[in-house]
């Protein structure tokens, strides 16, 4: 049976991105700013195909930006006049999102598209096309396979690309993806041999993920260990309470809201916040997470205990950024490895 998938030569990726640029603002992995992010396609540079493993700043930033104006206002004798900015609904296409980061967006959707539908998030999310690119060279900090995923998992993208040598195999996952695939001028039909190569590539990538985490009953173990202060103090000892792991985590979404007013004019902003910071929970009378171990506990439990309780899914996709980027090598897989089975 002929495959319904297509393929494209790697040297044609630049042309493909230019085709897509007609309709979308195209984002690709880039190091232009001095660190790896998803940046606007410049119309020519495809060198990321050689160096890209994953970005430091995840594509979460394209949907839930580090800072965002919610509305602006003016103050006069009659009071405040609020003006809502037009919701950012431009069509964007993120090329090369990794499965872990695409899965993370599906996890964020559960919070932002719940009983409260967040217009800022959803206006961007609903106008975003995700072109997944399977990993061929996962980091030693990656552990997606322990969370039921894989380096070539296509579940949460529109179109999936798998490296089969000189070409990428293209699979359409969603209706939007099917429509896109039908219109790629440079794509050819994939053959059975291409499918076989893709299968091999998927297996090879899967086996390259060496970091393992046993998540069996992890939420129950964490629940049982919630009051085990000794365990949490030990786990938290070396943490410096910076915001790297949370701010760069593709599933962390906490934000802070601030009004800025100057000479009768102002705006309300929201910007990412982190539960690692003591001020995160500061209240007039007290701070329930003044001690570091309570903050570390919250971070771990939010992902592996509370999110499963609320949405039946672990809010971690094993992207490994929190391990890779931590300046003291605090490692969540080690933390979870030694959660006491009983408190």
């Amino acid at each position: 049976m002929a495959s319904s998938n297509k393929k494209i030569n790697k040297k044609d990726i630049g042309k493909l991105l230019n085709e897509w640029s007609q309709e979308f603002t195209v984002f690709v992995p880039s190091r232009e700013t001095g660190t790896a992010t998803m940046a606007k396609w410049d119309g020519k540079d495809t060198s990321f195909l050689d160096w890209y493993r994953n970005t430091v700043v995840s594509p979460k930033a394209n949907i839930l930006p580090p800072m965002e104006e919610m509305f602006h206002f003016q103050k006069d004798k009659e009071g405040y006049h609020i003006e809502l900015p037009p919701l950012d609904g431009h069509k964007q296409l993120i090329f090369g999102i990794r499965p872990c980061d695409a899965n993370a967006l599906a996890i964020l959707d559960m919070t932002f598209n719940d009983s409260y539908e967040d217009p800022y998030y959803l206006s961007k999310r609903n106008n975003t096309i995700l072109i997944g690119l399977g990993c061929t060279n996962p980091y030693d900090s990656c552990f997606c396979t322990s969370l039921g995923s894989s380096p070539t998992d296509a579940t949460n993208v529109d179109l999936m690309l798998t490296d089969i040598g000189d070409e990428f195999l293209i699979e359409a996952i969603t209706d939007k993806g099917k429509e896109l695939m039908a219109n790629i001028s440079l794509a050819e039909e994939a053959t059975e041999a291409d499918e076989a190569k893709a299968k091999e590539a998927r297996e090879a990538a899967y086996n390259k993920v060496t970091r393992q985490l046993d998540i069996k009953n992890i939420d129950e173990k964490l629940l049982a260990s919630f009051d085990n202060q000794d365990y949490w103090e030990k786990i938290a000892a070396k943490c410096i309470s910076c915001g790297i792991c949370t701010l760069l985590c593709p599933t962390c979404y906490c934000f802070d809201i601030n009004d800025e007013l100057l000479k009768g004019q102002g705006a309300r902003f929201r910007s990412l916040d982190s539960c690692s910071f003591p001020v995160y929970t500061k209240m007039p009378m007290e701070n329930p997470r003044l001690e570091k171990w309570r903050r570390v506990r919250n971070k771990v439990c939010h992902k592996y205990e509370f999110y499963p309780m609320n949405f039946d899914v672990i809010a971690c996709t094993g992207c490994g950024r929190c391990i890779r980027l931590c300046p003291v090598n605090w490692d969540i897989t080690q933390t979870l490895d030694i959660v006491p089975a009983k408190a």
């Binding site: 700013t33 001095g34 660190t35 992010t37 493993r53 430091v56 700043v57 580090p66 800072m67 060279n137 980091y139 030693d140 900090s141 000892a237 070396k238 410096i240 309470s241 910076c242 915001g243 790297i244 701010l247 760069l248 802070d256 601030n258 800025e260 902003f269 910007s271 990412l272 982190s274 910071f277 001020v279 570091k292 391990i323 890779r324 980027l325 300046p327 003291v328 090598n329 605090w330 490692d331 897989t333 080690q334």
Partner: protein
């Protein structure tokens, strides 16, 4: 002495300190969970002591934990870290009698980012990195390549003036010689100084545009010991919590002024930064300015008054008297 022998000596000293009750905690390094990393080990358990390591990857300045760990502490320090402890003593954040300083004469620490640039591979793709004096051998896909050690050390290590701890209770090895790399250590700074003010402004604007305000630079820094940082003040609000480049830059400039006279050029702020902002170019310039203006180097003498926070009745200027 070889790293292995220093390790043995360290482990027996640390064990003796815990056993005798001279300290409540040991703060040192153990092997990290990623290739070529170490991670802080903070323990009161003698059984953990065998895990202590000394190798060319002991990056952290562990003195950052001193204001937090309760009780008496035995702590492993390199030259720059020992000076951080001295500044903490000068600022009365730490009492000398509460710390037992286990000094490591430091031949310089390997900067994995430099190794990555040199061989064109990420750190987890390398088989091995070994140092033998002034040569480093990097093994990739089974092939060994030799480089001068100076090419892979952190910039601050290349310019290190005091590799052997100034203040210690136990010195774990012979005095360490200086690494010859003064010029290389100042390279990025000199490049900035060669720019016009407009170019420099543009440079920092770009750098601070990607700051995510994680405060790792502040939290990893032993000189940033304030219980309440100015960025967290809301009345007045000195800095907006919204991470615009202007506020990011102001935060860093103020932080830099606050650590003047305390910064020992340990380089941890720059190393910790997840988005590669060259923060040491700011802190090292301040370090040099402090030296030029006041003839003062941080953390050299625990009896000396701190540079900018001491007050005397005989002050020359009226406004302060």
């Amino acid at each position: 002495m070889k790293d292995g022998n220093i390790e043995q000596k360290l482990q027996s000293e640390a064990k003796a300190l815990l056993e005798s009750g001279k300290v409540d905690y040991i703060i040192g390094f153990e092997a990290g969970s990623l290739k070529f990393t170490t991670t802080p080990l903070i323990t009161n358990n003698i059984a953990d002591i065998d895990r202590l390591v000394i190798n060319p990857f002991i990056v952290n300045n562990l003195s950052v934990y001193l204001t937090e760990v309760k009780g008496r502490v035995g702590i492993v320090v390199k030259g720059c870290d020992s000076r951080s402890i001295v500044t903490l003593i000068q600022d009365k954040q730490v009492a000398r009698e509460d710390v037992v300083i286990l000094g490591v004469p430091c031949p310089g620490i390997i900067d994995l980012s430099k190794v990555e640039r040199l061989v064109g591979k990420d750190r987890d793709e390398l088989d091995d990195i070994t140092r033998d004096g002034d040569r480093v051998v990097i093994t990739v896909d089974g092939n060994e390549t030799e480089f001068p050690t100076a090419e892979v050390l952190f910039d601050n290590c290349l310019g290190c003036e005091f590799p052997t701890p100034k203040e210690y209770d136990v010195l774990l090895d012979e005095f360490s010689p200086l690494v010859a790399g003064k010029a290389a250590s100042q390279e990025s700074l000199e490049k900035l100084k060669g720019m016009t003010p407009e170019q420099r402004w543009e440079f920092w604007k770009n750098e601070f545009s990607r700051c995510i305000r994680c405060y790792a630079c502040r939290n990893i820094c032993p000189a940033c010991f304030c219980e309440r940082c100015f960025v967290e003040e809301s009345e007045p609000q000195w800095i907006s919590p919204v991470p615009r480049w202007q506020d990011n830059l102001m935060f860093q400039i103020i932080r830099n002024i606050h650590v003047a006279g305390r910064c020992t050029d340990c380089g941890e702020c720059e190393r910790a930064c997840p988005v590669n902002i060259p923060l040491r170019s700011l802190t090292k310039e301040m370090y040099d300015i402090v030296d030029d203006l006041f003839g003062f180097k941080a953390g050299m003498d625990k009896e000396a008054a701190p540079l900018l926070t001491a007050y005397a009745l005989e002050e020359a200027e009226d406004f302060i008297r």
